[in-house]
């Protein structure tokens, strides 16, 4: 029986082949620029497009004008649209703050005093992938991918557990766009997200090739000693290369993951009453894994709700109710458990998607039910909670119909700038020189939104 202790002993302080001090290792961060509020991030991504006007941004005007055309010039949507459509869901006030939440998110509603509800997000592109890239990398252009938010965070702060990747991405399948959304791009590859498909229940099934059925850890260790000689020799021949160096570190992490990961991903280690609140859905189990991963010192955990873009309710907005049932309880449970374990104040939780959905009914030839909504980048909502966030407030507003953000408009760059700020990173100073210039997550934009800060 190989224990974790034994694996760590075998590995000692790593292969030591590169001969660099710990401070120069690719996976160690640059260190925060100032005292951080949050140490780690859990980014819950509802891919496809959460309908803000059916969840966290109530619009009584839609009830009054259901079926009527939206006043003003006809808005050009991606697909043909009809008149305004009221939300099929009722809103009610929750908590001390009295923030209104629709009845498909009752459990988040009960926790709403912990959440900042941003109702004035806007983005640029009407298509999923560019807007997903904007939310995750700060750049909507597809050609020449940019480092993801999570990669910038681990580049800035490093990770606290060398036995696991610093940035873990969970998805039952792959979201639209795939690995570009968690790519380290030109940053050292140690900072790229590691996708773990969470549609299985044991670590062996979750992580491909986690276990070796043929060799013992001691036998592997001797193999890796040889490998370190081969890699040093190659590194000597090609000269210093941060990508290769990351790659050598990645083997150390891989070796240690074999003994570390099975315990972390084994949800049966949680008591029944904890597991019950997350349910048995992929997203629910993902949230519980996220809790265990940040507890183990992983810097960034991102969960993509499902394969492809499940929240893309063109045909029938009632589909959002189904997805809310899968995510409402787990998100609320995650916040409660972060609090119960004393980690809420140091963990930044973000819940969001690439855009909202139109107040108008979608009216194109593709739908079968004809009760859907199209993509709505001019106005949408996100939630934030935890480390350094001032909860129990709704920030900004869309117009009377929920089409466009009009009050205190904020975009993904502002979200990124503020999130980095909470993590002790100055978004204007967190740079990486590539292709002849310094790059930033926020490019030349991004404002820290002071009202969001506790």
């Amino acid at each position: 029986m190989i224990t974790r202790r034994k694996a760590v002993q075998l590995m000692g302080a790593g292969f030591g082949l590169v001969g660099l001090g710990d401070s120069l290792r690719a996976s160690s961060g640059q260190g925060p620029h100032f005292a951080p509020k949050a140490k780690q991030v859990i980014f819950l991504y509802l891919n496809g497009g959460l309908s803000h006007i059916d969840s966290f941004d109530p619009k009584p005007e839609l009830d009054k004008r259901d079926g009527q055309p939206m006043p003003g010039p006809k808005i050009k949507t991606d697909r043909a649209s009809g008149g305004l459509m009221k939300s099929p869901f009722a809103f009610k006030k929750y908590g001390q703050s009295g923030i209104e939440v629709s009845d498909i998110f009752p459990k988040i509603g009960e926790q709403i005093d912990d959440f900042l509800v941003v109702r004035s997000m806007y983005s640029e592109s009407v298509n999923h992938l560019p807007s997903m890239l904007m939310m995750n990398t700060g750049n909507a252009l597809r050609g020449g991918s940019r480092p993801s938010f999570g990669s910038w965070v681990t580049y800035g702060l490093g990770t606290e557990n060398d036995n696991l990747p610093g940035y873990v991405v969970l998805c039952p399948g792959q979201p639209t766009g795939g690995s570009r959304l968690w790519s380290a791009a030109f940053l050292p590859t140690a900072h790229q997200g590691a996708l773990i498909r969470n549609d299985a229940k044991t670590a062996d099934q979750l992580i491909q090739d986690l276990a070796n059925k043929s060799y013992t850890l001691e036998e592997q260790k001797r193999q890796l000693d040889l490998l370190s000689k081969l890699d040093s020799s190659f590194l000597g021949r090609v000269g210093y290369d941060p990508k290769l160096e990351s790659n050598i570190e990645a083997m150390e992490t891989a070796f240690r993951m074999q003994t570390e990961a099975p315990g972390i991903f084994d949800l049966s280690k949680e008591p029944e009453h904890v597991r019950a609140r997350y349910g048995d859905g992929d997203f629910g189990r993902g949230c519980l894994m996220a809790l265990r991963l940040v507890e183990a010192g992983v810097r960034v955990v991102q969960i993509y709700y499902g394969n492809g873009q499940p929240w893309d309710s063109h045909d029938d907005i009632l589909a959002q109710k189904h997805h809310a049932e899968q995510s409402d309880g787990p998100i609320a449970a995650l916040v409660q458990d972060l609090k119960a374990r004393g980690m809420f104040d140091e963990t930044l939780v973000i819940v969001g998607s690439e855009f909202g959905r139109t107040p108008m009914i979608q009216n194109s030839g593709t739908e079968k039910v004809g009760r859907g909504r199209d993509h709505n980048p001019p106005g949408y909502s996100i939630l934030m909670a935890g480390g350094g966030i001032k909860g129990g407030q709704a920030y900004g507003a869309t117009d009377d119909f929920g089409y466009k953000a009009v009050e205190k408009r904020v975009n993904p760059h502002d979200m990124h700038a503020t999130a980095l700020h909470l993590l002790g990173l100055d978004h204007t100073k967190l740079t990486y020189r590539y292709s002849g210039r310094d790059f930033r997550l926020t490019d030349v934009e991004g404002n820290i939104i002071q009202d969001w800060l506790a």
Partner: protein, 198 residues
């Protein structure tokens, strides 16, 4: 415009700078270690998913290079080139996806390249890699005979297209003194040099 960009692309690809080897030349290294003047090829990019799989098979000697015919899943029994692999839109091959095979449901103008612990686990533990390491070891035995130095020289020629340095030969000999050959060939396939374009 298109003609102009084709011409400039051709000019870049045909240039001496683009076609240089990645080998370090000491005198150049002293003057320009960062290779800002492009005196050598920067060996950074990882092989793409298909090339990686085909290369493992080519090196082990198991590659079935037959052209044409129906696509089949890229399982351990399938020894054909990855271009003949079956792509199921809703559930693409997990190993291909791990090595950044693009999402078959959307278009992709560029491959992203990811290298991390999960990729290393593949070389450490994947049954296909372990099986091919055994085939590779048998090939060395069959083609280079009982002279272990010759086996190592052949292995380097096949895997890295170059002879081993004396130190590398020594490291290899010391390893196979106590460990079975397939564990040695597996590490050649796992080496950074194997999956770096250079």
């Amino acid at each position: 415009m298109a003609g102009r960009s084709r011409r400039s692309t051709a000019e870049i690809l045909l240039s001496a700078a683009y076609q240089r080897s990645s080998t370090i030349v000491e005198s150049n290294q002293e003057k320009d270690a960062a290779n800002e003047l492009f005196w050598r090829f920067n060996p950074v990019e990882r092989l793409d998913a298909e090339t990686l799989r085909d290369s493992i098979l080519a090196v082990s000697g198991d590659l079935d290079a037959k052209m044409g015919g129906p696509a089949k899943p890229l399982d351990a029994e399938n020894l054909r080139r990855a271009i003949y692999g079956e792509v199921e839109r809703t559930s693409p091959d997990r190993t291909m996806t791990l090595f950044d095979f693009p999402d078959p449901k959307s278009h992709s103008e560029e491959r992203s390249v990811t290298v991390g612990p999960l990729h290393r686990l593949y070389f450490l533990n994947n049954p296909f890699v372990i099986a091919q390491s055994e085939v590779f070891a048998k090939r060395l035995e069959a083609e280079a005979g009982d002279d272990w130095s010759k086996r190592i020289a052949l292995a380097y020629q096949l895997a890295f297209s170059r002879p081993p340095t004396p130190d590398e030969t020594q490291a290899g000999l010391a390893f196979v003194e106590t460990e079975p050959w397939p564990r040695y060939t597996q590490m050649l396939l796992a080496a950074s040099e194997f999956f770096s374009v250079r």
